[in-house]
Every structure is written in structure tokens, then in C-alpha cells.
Amino acid sequence: MKISLNQLKTYVDINIPVLEMCDKMVMAGFEVESIEKQGDNLVNVVAAKILEITPHENSDHLQICQMDIGKGEPIQIVTGAQNISVGDLVPAALDDSYLPNGMHIVAGKLRGVPSNGMLCSGEELCLTENDYPGASVHGILILRDEHPAGTDMREVLGLDDYIIDFKITANRPDCNCFLGVAKEISVVLGTKFNPPVPEFKTIGDKIENYIDVQVENFDLCPRYMGRLVKNLRIKPSPDWMQKAITASGMRPINNIVDITNFVMLETGQPMHAFNYNDIADKKIIVRNANEGESITTLDGVEHKLNTDMLVIADGQKPSCLAGIMGGRESEIEDDTKDLFLESAKFRRDNIRHTGRALGMRTEASGRYERGTDINNVEFAMNRALQLIYELDAGDIIEGTLDRHQGLPEERIITTTTDKILELIGVDVPCDTIISILNSLGLNATIDGNEVTCRIPSIRDDIEGRADLAEEVMRIYGYDHIVGTPMRGEVIRGKKLPERLKNDKIKALLSGLGAFEVTTYSFIASKAIDTLRLAEDDARRNQVNIINPLGDEYSVMRTQLVTSMLTVLSTNINRKNGDGRFYEISKRFIPKQLPVTEQPDELPEMCIGIYGKDEDFFTLKGMVEEIMKLFGAHTRYERSSEPYLHPGRQALVKANNKPVAVLGEVHPDVAASYGIDTRVYIAEIKLDVLYTIEKRKTTYKPLPKFPAVERDFAMLCDIDIPVGNLEQAIVSGASRLLEKVELFDVYTGSQIPEGKKSVAFSVALRSSEGTLSDTQIEEVNSRIIKKLEAAGAELRK
């Protein structure tokens, strides 16, 4: 909330520099967002006297003025204005000056004649008639008062105020006003707080003769107070009030509207003024809107209302959207004669709800949403009447219509000083605690160490000892808190198994040259379409975000592939030669759509690689290392993942459970990401992988007897997978097998059409003794038999 320092000084003595005061307020819980010195945007502009005016040779509208700027030697300024005469005192922006509209003035030439600045109009100084009489005149602003030439314009305009923007936290709605902040300042500085004491005179008569107020829904409107003012004398409000309102970002209109706004800014209690003469049947009814009713508010917008919304109606129709904005029909205008003035409390959640539903937020509704004080209703009303009386804005009719169902008593909180200090861990003297609580108006008394506070309704936020502890500490000073090291037995904290396993994979992948990436968990709703998935593919069942930032981030991802493709695309298009990337994140799998309960969040890993040395098999190598890390027995099967190359992809089964797919990305899919090179992607379901129980590692004795190496070269049909041949060797060699390694696959010259040549190197070893020739021969022929059964023919 922005507040004028001069205004604050009318309520509280501020005996230290403004910056120091702001620092102290920050340490008491009131962050200062900005301190704006008025006139800070008006630099090097002075009052200057016109000594001489001569016409410009090359122009029929420019004039050359010799100006006294109080420096002895006059300076020359060229102007296009015609409303000036010799002897006038005018604002002159000198060389290197700044105007409030952001203009930077420097010396230059106008049609060949040197000009050392600019004479300013009221508009150029962002002044209105309210700021300075004559400011709205077309032409140069002629200053009325006598000032020595050279006087800074800030002094001429009386710009000596600071505007301080306090950030009021959500728990302190009582400080969304001048008095609330002033009260805090008085506590922080230990100076006197002087709130206004409302006094006014009425002209007699009785309000009951004019109007009746009925509240139909006390739940939504716990208190409604009305007064009547006759014979309005509408005119501009006084300068001090306009300045205070403007400082807080509101626009002065006329004395009546300004008084309601000023009282809201001063007390935090929104006020509303109705044109009494427009109130049908002379009745004010606080009720829920009827189905189908509508209202056109002051801003000219028509709103359709529903029955949850509270309105202030007259005998016929809604005349004000309660707590949010008045109706256009009952608006105060320059010729309004009589006034019905409202001060009321509305329930905050209802105001918030209605405001949201209609897309409206006003100074009033903002305050109601945060919460207003039911007991402040009467003070604010009286303050408004005092101002009407003092400013002679109208005649106040005797009597108040005050509708409520009882006002709350002060709440009693009983605790002990120990209980308060227990949370803080700092020893604050008892009398200090009590005096702080009392200075904040919390009416504390002490008996032994038992503290009793009578909490006024304005401090609704204070509920118990924790709140009292905060109040004491923010005034006593958080600097008194001294850190104590962790107490008790400290044993190293533990990570969950999933995090430990993720850590292991990440360490492995770093070793394999892969970079970890992070991408958003939400993706474009259309992204899934790039993967060529079938219409009924479960991955299309994505959870929608109801209020996304845009379509680009509108669904929770069910797979990490599209994000990885984007990462690959970014890197390829930026000519990063090669790359290995991985991400460990979550897939969001809904249990139903639309979602009514939390979706499953399953851990997933995606690897993406590209580059001249990368192919299906380098990716397979990475996947295999991960599988080994968890002791998984893997098998590769052909798969039919639509986003992958139909002939270059595999499903990985670990201990017979499908755990991963990997392959080259389908060129059409790659193309839709602007990728024109071969890229490879693997998806690993970590939830499945992590269920694999790794067997305990036990040491195997190192071999004592020599191994025998044999090569097997064979011919077979071209489409027989080498995996089958390897399996044949494994089962043929049985427990004597130490190692089997594919070392050559060849097709081409000397190999018959439709055939390929395959060669394995096999090592055999027994743990019981050196293999005899007979043993070796036996194994050899078993292997050959198995290979023949698998469709291979040994080459001689």
C-alpha cells in the first residue's frame, strides 16, 4: 500500500529520517517495496524570468527568449509558445534536465538558433489544475507566485513528500490503511499515536423519516450501517485530501467521493455513497441477488448475477454489488442533492468469490477479501461524517441505522510467558513482553507468569501463543535470536531407495558420457501426436491442466520422449556435433479421465543420443550397463513402437518383465522436430527396473586351469538373428563356456545370395582340470550340432 509520508505524520511523530524509519519497519514485518521522493522525476527545471522576446528569422511561430535563471548571465531558449510576455515567470527545463513524462532535455539548435533548454507547459510537467492553477492552459505555464529566478520547480510546486509503498502481508488486513501503518510506526519508534477523534453536528430531523434498512442475510453481511446527508454542496476536495488520495494511487473526483475514498484509505473500512434520490421505495435491502437479475456497475459494465452474490438493493432492483462496486444508477453526480452513506462488513470469502466470478477487483473488494473489522464500521462512518461536517459538504441528519446481530466481545487469550518464549528460545523480560503487547493494543495483564490478553476484533489474526510470540519478537527484535547447533543425537540422514538407485544410474551415465537434462513436466497437448501412436494408445490419456499458461504447457506428460526429442532438436539445430542426454522424471498416468484422484506418478528414464559414432548398438550398450547395474537378466525382442524405426528397435525384458524400449527414431517423427539426422532414444521404466532384487555378489575363485579358445565360422540365412546362434553356442558349451564373442558378420562377395557369414570366438574352461582333447572334441561337436539345429552351417 502506497502512503504519503506527510499524511502519516499527521497521525504519528516520526522523529528519524525516512530511510531509517523504513528499515525499522522492515524489521518489524513491513517490507518496503519502494520509497519515491516526489519530484524525483523533475530534475534541473527552474522558475525563470523572461527578459526579452525576439522573433525567429527562419520561423513565423518560434520566438527567442532571453531568460534570467538566477545565474547573473541570462541564457537563450527558443520556444514555440505564444502566451508569454516579457516579465513572466515560467518553468524552464535547462540543459540536461528531466521531465516527469520521461523527456530528457538537452541544449541544441532550433532552425539554426541555439536553444539552451525548453520552456514548459503544465502538461509537460504532468500538472493538473488541482496541482497548480493555470496548469491546464494551452501554452507555457505562467507561475503566479513570486519566486526568485532560478528557484527549483520542486520547491515552487511544493513537492516535498515521500511516497512509501509498504507490502502488507495477508495476515495484517488492519494495516491496509493509513491508521494501521501509523499505529505500527508509533510502536516501532516508541512515539505517540494520534488517531483522529470524530466529532460533528447534525441538523436534527430523524433518519427514519427518510429511509429504512433491512438485512436479509446477516451471514454474508454481519453489520450494515447507514446515515443520511442532505443538501450536498459538491465541489473539489481540499488540497491535502487530494494529495493523500493521489499518493495512494486513487484519483480525486469531488468532495463526497473523495471523502469516502479517503476514509477507506485512512481507516481500511470501505464506504459507499448512494444518491438518495435514486433509491426506489426509500428502502435499502441487503440480500442475495435473484436469479436472472443484473446490474450495471459504475464502470459501465453490465453483470449477470447469481443467487450466491450479495447485493444492496432498493425496493425494486440491485443498486450496488455489495463490497465490490456501486451501480451506475445510484452514482453520486455533480447535481446530487441528498446522500445515503453506507459503512458495512461483508464476509470476505463471499466477496472474493463474487469478485472472481465477475472478474472484478477494486480497492474496496480487495480490503473486504482480506478482512475488515466489524467494530471499525462505526468509527469509519463517524470519521466520514466529521469530514463532511468540517468541509461543509452537506447537512447531516440525526440518527444511525445500525443493523447487526450483536457485536463480538474482545477475545481472551490466556497463556504464560514461558509458553510464549518456548517457541522463540530467547529470554525476553516479562515486563518487556507485557509492554510490547500493550503497545500493540492487545491489552495484556500479567499475574505471576500468567499472561492474559484481551484481543480486539481488529486483530483477528491473533489466535494463540504462537501469534503472541511473533508480536513480541518482531518488536523486541529478531536479532536477539542466537543460533544453536542441532541438538540431540545426530546420525546421518537416509535417502529413500528410489533416490539411491537414481543416484547410481546417474553416476553410471556420467561415466558413459551422458548429460542430465531437466524439462517441464507439462507439454503441448498436441505433442503426443508427433509420436504416430494408435488412436487407442494409453499414452494419449493425458491429464489436462484446467488453467494452463498456454497450449504449449497444457497436459501432464505420460512419456518423456517428446521432451527428449525437443532437447535433441535444440542441440542438433545449434550444431552441437554429438550428444548423449538423459532425464529421470515422472510419467503422470491417470487412473481415470477426467481425473478425480491423484494420477500415478511413475519414475521413468529417457536416454537420447546422436552423432557420428552413435548407433543402435551404442545405445544398447548404455541400456545394457544400466541393466547390469541392477543385476537384471535381459533379453531383446523385436518390438513395434510406432515412433521408432520399424527395423531398428527392441523391447528389453529384464527377468522376463518388459522394462525398456530402445531404437532409432522414425525419420517422420524426427522430421517433425526438425531433426534430419539419425537419433536414438531409449525409455526405461524405473518402477519396473527397481523391483528387481539384485543378487548378492559372491567371490568366484580365479581359474586355476588354462582356457581353450576356438573360433566358429559359419554360414546361415541372412535373417537368422545372431542372438539365436549365440544361444546355440551357450547351450552347446554348457557349463564349460567361459566366454562367447561375436567377432565378424559378413555378406557380399564369395557369400551366396541370401546368406551371411558369422564368426564367434569361444573360450572354454573347466574349474576341475585342464581340458583333455577328448573333452574339447565332445564340446565342439555339441556346439556344432546346436548351431546346425539353429540353421547354421559350419564353414570349413
Partner: protein
């Protein structure tokens, strides 16, 4: 004969000393000491000597043989050493040529900072827990003392997935789940991804990361909170770092504070990084609100606790002086290689 021996010996010594390589040495060995060598020939002539002279002569020949053998051995190893030296010299390489390595990859900077933080808090006895990213209104707001239509909800713009489902706006939701499943003493951190409907720009991201800390036990005070945060700040920013509490407001803590640390860039004197204040705001914290404890079945009269929430992304960008938060999510390899 004796003179003959002397001559042969002298010839042999001079020949051995001038030998150029191992091959020549070997030839000399054969020439003088071999079966048909010159010294052997002298031995063979011994028969023609006077028996009394034979032992003397024999000894002389043997001595000559022995000294030649020694000389040959010495010369041989000399030549070998020289040959090795030459060979190694010829093998000299340019050590400024590029290394041959399989370059390791790196963790994402967010996670490498997170790992440091996890390590610090684990060493202070904090367990590391997780919570779901899609939360119910109850866990994200209501249980944290933010009822429906409470103005505090305006502090965070929330993404909704359904009537009661949302993307968590804070890892504080995990506090509740922890307190429901664990009994005090509790000491956990919950790092994780959180979401707020902020438009993407250099300092805002709708997806970011927090580390929530929670301690609940008997007699926990704000001094304990400050102690833990001081230790954390000393490890992250250096041991001279000061910690300052400023009163603030969060619905789920009371009292609530914003926590500033002295600017590590200027040591608190004021600079561009800390905007001249000497302090940098790093996190929000406070004593767990009694109502939050209560709703998790913990008696606030018996137990108290503190909670804090650290913004990981901000910590990462300040640590590495990354000017634009979007770089963290763009994943350009040239960026990722730097950390």
C-alpha cells in the same frame, strides 16, 4: 708366450673399447675368448711350456680372460643403455597434443547443487523424503492453514487439474504427509518440483524446485532454526556468512521469517549482486503453525517444530551467475558441460 699374451690382451682391450655396437662386441668375444679364440689358442699351447712355468702362465691367461670378460660385460651394458636412451629419445611425443578420453557427462546444474544441499542436510541428520507432484487441495492448502477463499491463496497462482487436484505450489505439502506417517522426532528434507502459473521470463518459470525442511520435536525453538540455517549458510556460502531473520507471513508457520544471508560477493558491504543492501534473501521459514501440527495429529502443546523452504533454482542461478533461468530448461550441451 708371455709377451704374446700381453700383445693379444692389449689388442683386445683397445678393440673392445672402440666397439660400436653389441654385434661387434659379440664378434670380439668370439675372436678372443671363443673356443677357437686367441686366448684359448694360447691355453692350448701351454703343453709346450716348462712344467714349472705352466701354472704361472695358466694364471696369467686366466686373469687376462677374466678381465676381458669383465670388460666385455661392462661395454655391453654401456652400449645397451646407450641404445635404449637413443630409442626412448626417438620416441619423444608432443605432450600438448589433445588427451584421448571418453569424456564423462555431468549432472544437471540443479541436481549438482541439490546433491550438495542433500549432503549438508544429511550430515545434520535430515532424512530425504519425496511427495507427489499432483496434490489434493487438502494437502497443498487446507492442511497448511490456507482454507478455501483465504486471501493467502492469492500469494500463489495455482495450476488446477480437477476440482480438488492441483500441481503442488510448494513442497510444504510433503510436510503434512511426513507428519502423518512419522512420529516425532522428525527431521526431514523434501526436495522436489513445484509449479506456479508464472509466465516464463528470465527470472520466472512455471516449473521450479524447492527443498522443504521440517524438524519436529519437544522444545524446538527459533534458535534451533537459526542454528540449522547458519550451518547450511556456512557450508554453502562460506564460514563467515551471517544469517538474518526478518518477520514475514506464511500461513503454515507462526512466527514466520524471511531469511537473508550476508552477500558472499561483497561480504555485506553492498554491491550489484545484493542491490547495495549487503544481504540476499534466500528462503522463507518459521515455526510450524500449531494448527498444522494439530491437523497432523501432533499435540502442539507437547511438540514444536520449524520448517523452511529453499528455492533451488535461485540458489543455482546465483551460485553459477546464470543470468536467465530459462537456460536451465533449454539443455544446450554447451551449457550443461560447464558445471
Amino acid at each position: 708366450m708371455k709377451e704374446n699374451l700381453e700383445v693379444i690382451k692389449a689388442q683386445a682391450i683397445s678393440a673392445i673399447e672402440t666397439a660400436a655396437d653389441e654385434k661387434e662386441i659379440e664378434e670380439l668375444r668370439v675372436k678372443y675368448l671363443g673356443k677357437k679364440g686367441e686366448l684359448t689358442a694360447i691355453l692350448k699351447q701351454m703343453g709346450s711350456l716348462d712344467p714349472a712355468e705352466r701354472p704361472i702362465m695358466g694364471q696369467l691367461v686366466n686373469e687376462a680372460k677374466q678381465s676381458l670378460e669383465e670388460l666385455i660385460g661392462k661395454k655391453k651394458s654401456e652400449l645397451l643403455a646407450k641404445a635404449t636412451e637413443l630409442k626412448l629419445k626417438a620416441e619423444t611425443i608432443d605432450i600438448t597434443m589433445p588427451a584421448k578420453t571418453s569424456k564423462p557427462g555431468k549432472l544437471h546444474p540443479l541436481n549438482s547443487v541439490l546433491d550438495d544441499m542433500i549432503d549438508i542436510f544429511q550430515s545434520m541428520g535430515f532424512d530425504v523424503v519425496d511427495g507427489p507432484e499432483v496434490e489434493t487441495d487438502y494437502y497443498n492448502f487446507e492442511c497448511l492453514n490456507v482454507p478455501a477463499d483465504h486471501p493467502a491463496r492469492d500469494m500463489q497462482d495455482t495450476f488446477y487439474l480437477g476440482e480438488n487436484l492441483l500441481l503442488r505450489t510448494q513442497t510444504s505439502a510433503a510436510q503434512i504427509r511426513t507428519m502423518e506417517t512419522r512420529k516425532p522426532p522428525i527431521r526431514v528434507i523434501c526436495p522436489g518440483r513445484v509449479y506456479r502459473a508464472d509466465e516464463v521470463d528470465a527470472t520466472h518459470s512455471p516449473v521450479f524446485h524447492q527443498i522443504e525442511g521440517l524438524v519436529v520435536d519437544k522444545g524446538i525453538t527459533m534458535c534451533d532454526l537459526k542454528g540449522v540455517l547458519e550451518q547450511f549458510a556456512h557450508e554453502i556460502y562460506g564460514k563467515d556468512t551471517k544469517v538474518k531473520f526478518r518477520p514475514s507471513f506464511f500461513p503454515f508457520t507462526e512466527p514466520s521469517v524471511e531469511v537473508d544471508v550476508s552477500c558472499s560477493e561483497c561480504g555485506g558491504k553492498g554491491c550489484r549482486v545484493c542491490k547495495g543492501s549487503g544481504w540476499i534473501e534466500i528462503l522463507g521459514a518459521g515455526m510450524v503453525h500449531p494448527r498444522v501440527l494439530e491437523s497432523c495429529g501432533i499435540d502442539p502443546e507437547e511438540y514444536s517444530g520449524f520448517a523452511f523452504g529453499i528455492g533451488l533454482d535461485r540458489l543455482t542461478t546465483t551460485r553459477y551467475k546464470i543470468s536467465d533461468i530459462r537456460l536451465l530448461f533449454e539443455n544446450d550441451k554447451r551449457f550443461l558441460e560447464q558445471f
